[in-house]
């Protein structure tokens, strides 16, 4: 509804609410007062840990410091070590970025297709399909990962057996977890499977708000299905796509469980480290919490940049 209103009020006139209202005492403080509880919670749960990680990343912080409570400031040493590490540039960063890009694209495209399908179904069937989708969403990442790992287990995994029956691989020698590409193939399936229901349901909610007349008019004008999607549906749902894309990007960039729990994902296979698993391995297996924190800061900065770029692309400046 708000979407429709927004497009109808158009781009010309300024919103009436802001026009004229006498500035009374308290007009400035009241919104802040009302926001205060939320800000306090956000500050405590979000801002403080964020700052703590930032401070940590400037220290050489190991198990000894952890127990004794002493601190050992080293300035930007952790960042220097991180940014000059060949591992970062040849493995970790490409893995993280390419995997996230592919996973987000697949999740959003597949989720949208499912949403378009759902929009066409009768309410009863839609209910059934939605429930089925929700199961994938509700499955904890740990469980889901083990199911996928099990399906791809070398030798007797059901997928490996099926591919063997089709003559595509040799079940006796194939190991999907050994190679970088196949490892991430399995991980992508897992992540997309877990992530598409959110996209599908959010886009579906958006689809249902589009006035029927618009689509009907387009059909009368002889627009093809693709054309209708690209010229009518997509522009109207731009904010929805922005939200699902940004959220999926954030989730897929910092994906951890799905990688860490796969065979070799816990640092044994150095070719498949991502920023998330690398940060964890450095922090908790290596007790180098400072370096781990620096990796986490890098990941956060990267996410911020990506998010800003997305929002710029998806909205014109006056809409923000």
């Amino acid at each position: 509804m708000t979407l429709a209103e927004r497009t109808e009020t158009g781009r010309g006139a300024a919103p009436p609410a802001a026009r004229q209202r006498p500035r009374r005492r308290g007009a400035v403080t009241r919104p802040w007062l009302l926001l205060a509880p939320a800000l306090l919670v956000m500050g405590g749960l979000l801002l403080y840990p964020l700052l703590r990680v930032l401070v940590l990343s400037l220290q050489d912080f190991g198990l000894r410091e952890l127990v004794s409570g002493r601190t050992n400031r080293v300035g930007l040493d952790n960042y220097v070590e991180l940014l000059t590490s060949p591992e970062l540039w040849t493995t970790v960063l490409p893995n993280t970025v390419v995997f996230a890009a592919v996973a987000v694209a697949l999740t959003v495209v597949f989720g949208t297709l499912v949403a378009l399908l759902l929009a066409r179904l009768s309410p009863v069937v839609r209910g059934v399909v939605t429930t089925a989708i929700m199961v994938a969403w509700a499955m904890p990442a740990v469980t889901g990962t083990y199911v996928w790992v099990f399906a791809f287990t070398p030798g007797d995994g059901v997928v490996v057996q099926a591919l063997d029956a089709l003559g595509l691989v040799d079940a006796a020698t194939a190991n999907p977890f050994a190679g970088r590409l196949s490892f991430y193939g399995v991980a992508a399936l897992n992540v997309v499977h877990h992530g598409f229901p959110f996209v599908a349901l959010t886009v579906l909610a958006g689809l249902l708000t589009i006035p029927r007349e618009l689509t009907e008019a387009a059909i009368v004008d002889g627009a093809s299905a693709w054309r209708r999607f690209w010229s009518v549906t997509f522009p109207m749902l731009r904010p929805v796509f922005a939200v699902v894309t940004v959220l999926s990007t954030i989730w897929d960039f910092k994906v951890f469980t799905q990688i860490y729990l796969m065979p070799g994902g816990d640092g044994v296979n150095r070719n498949v480290l991502t920023l998330g698993t690398w940060s964890y391995v450095e922090s908790f297996a290596q007790n180098r919490f400072g370096l781990g924190a620096a990796i986490a800061v890098l990941l956060t900065a990267l996410l911020l940049v990506v998010t800003v770029v997305y929002l710029r692309l998806l909205f014109r400046e006056d809409e923000l």
Binding site: G62, L63, R64, L66, V67, S68, V142, T143, Y146, V147, V149, F150, T153, P154, G155, D156, V158, A172, T173, A174, N175, F177, A178, G179, P263, G264, D266, G267, V268, N269, R270, N271, V281, F284, A285, Q286, N287
Partner: protein, 433 residues
């Protein structure tokens, strides 16, 4: 869905569930160690799976402990695979247990960080100092302090299918050449079996071959340590070990990402003829696959030209954490668990060897074909990995496992992989000190 029945999934789901449950438990029970009077509670962390069915043991122990001291025990089980991380997070969050079973290679690390209590005075006072198994004492000693009470020890040897050996007229090998010959015979006569799977993610079988060829994992050089995995001898041993899979084809490419437990799964499913296995596993194997009863035996990992290859003496110590409010009470529990009746009972139930020399001597007399070969390997060639906090870090980084994985998948040659691993180890040795 028939394919969901596999033991691995069942176990993995169980792992996940347990981990979640354990996390929830610590979350709620973090401050259980406080309080006084009659409602004193000791939180105890025990590694899951050492004793296939540990519940009865600990309910008995709890009852006996409550009777003796009036305090109650809160025993929590932790998976080996996630235990190191859990200890670190607990140390970070101040939620460490009062008493915990700590693996031999971690004691140095935690003690160095100041998280563990020095038990030396208490051990002396109790008159226990002379009766403890050397390898475990070595693992628990940092400087002049003893930061863990030896609890139990185990060693890895080879478990094999006696029925297959009998069918093919084979004898347990006593040299590396014989090991290859036996494997080749099995490969040729029983193509349905893996002669000897080589797991990529199991560093503890790399060392017997590395040592067996005359190499060293790392050597002490004054205050620092130097990696030895890239020495010609070490490379020769690692090459032999890798060739069991790469040249002789005794393994499967899938094993490049296996852990020790995956190897055991293959054996219980009847897919392997020999496996490298801990002294504690035969019992678990028979429990998982009762049809193998009477069909399995064990022999020590042979030395290159006879004798025995050194094998890692692993095990656990019982440590008290500095955060414990009542360290005297905690020591009472440690003493109760590591000596006398309960220690013997634990060793017997878990098929490990006890941590006191008196009890170990008793166990070594065993004529059980699934105990005696391990006892021999432990007594004659049990060896400790380098005792330094840095080595715990190297294990955390999975340097040796990563090296083995890259060799087994063909991504790197032994020369390349050992050079990489040695560089990584030396870097950690240099920065850790």
């Amino acid at each position: 869905m028939w394919w969901l029945r596999g033991s691995r999934t069942a176990r993995r789901s169980a792992v996940a569930l347990l981990a979640a449950a354990a996390l929830a438990l610590t979350g709620c029970g973090g401050d259980a160690g406080s309080g006084g009077g009659d409602d004193r509670t000791l939180t105890v962390w025990i590694m899951e799976g050492t004793n296939p069915d540990a519940e009865p043991f600990f309910s008995e122990l709890s009852a006996a402990f409550t009777e003796r001291t009036g305090a109650t025990l809160d025993v929590q089980f932790v998976q080996w695979a996630s235990a190191h991380d859990r200890f670190i997070t607990a140390i970070a969050g101040g939620t460490t247990p009062d008493v915990a079973e700590v693996g031999t290679t971690w004691v140095a690390e935690f003690a160095d960080a100041g998280a563990l209590v020095d038990l030396e005075p208490r051990v002396q006072e109790a008159g226990l100092a002379d009766g403890l198994v050397d390898g475990l004492v070595e693992a628990g000693t940092i400087g002049d302090g003893l930061y863990g009470m030896p609890w139990y020890a185990g060693v890895r040897s080879i478990v094999y299918r006696t029925d297959v050996f009998a069918e093919l007229g084979l004898q347990p090998p006593t040299t590396w050449d014989e090991l290859v010959a036996v494997g080749q015979r099995i490969k040729q006569a029983r193509p349905d079996l893996l002669p000897l799977p080589i797991a990529g993610d199991n560093e503890f079988i790399v060392y017997p071959f590395l040592w067996g060829a005359g190499g060293e994992v790392a050597t002490r050089n004054g205050d620092t340590w130097v990696s030895g995995v890239d020495s010609p001898q070490a490379r020769e041993g690692i090459q032999f070990y890798a060739d069991l899979a790469l040249v002789h084809g005794f393994s499967t490419p899938a094993a490049a990402t296996w852990r020790e437990t995956d190897v055991r799964d293959a054996f219980t499913k009847g897919q392997a003829a020999m496996i490298f296995s801990g002294s504690w596993t035969p019992k678990a194997i028979l429990e998982a696959a009762p049809d193998l009863e009477g069909k399995i035996g064990a022999f020590p990992i042979p030395g290159r030209d006879g004798g025995l290859a050194p094998s890692v003496l692993g095990g656990s110590l019982l440590s008290i954490f500095e955060t414990s409010d009542d360290q005297d009470l905690a020591w009472q529990l440690v003493e109760m668990m590591s000596t006398g009746e309960f220690a013997a009972k634990w060793a017997q139930e878990s098929s490990y060897f006890p941590g006191t020399t008196a009890l170990l001597a008793e166990a070594a007399q065993s004529s059980d074909p699934l105990v005696a070969p391990f006892a021999r390997q432990m007594a004659e060639s049990g060896r400790s990995v380098p005792v330094t906090p840095a080595f715990g870090q190297i294990q955390g980084k999975k340097t040796i496992a990563a090296m083995m994985r890259s060799i087994l998948t063909g991504e790197a040659t032994v020369e390349e992989a050992t050079a990489t691993a040695a560089a990584e180890m030396n870097q950690i040795f240099a920065s850790g000190a």
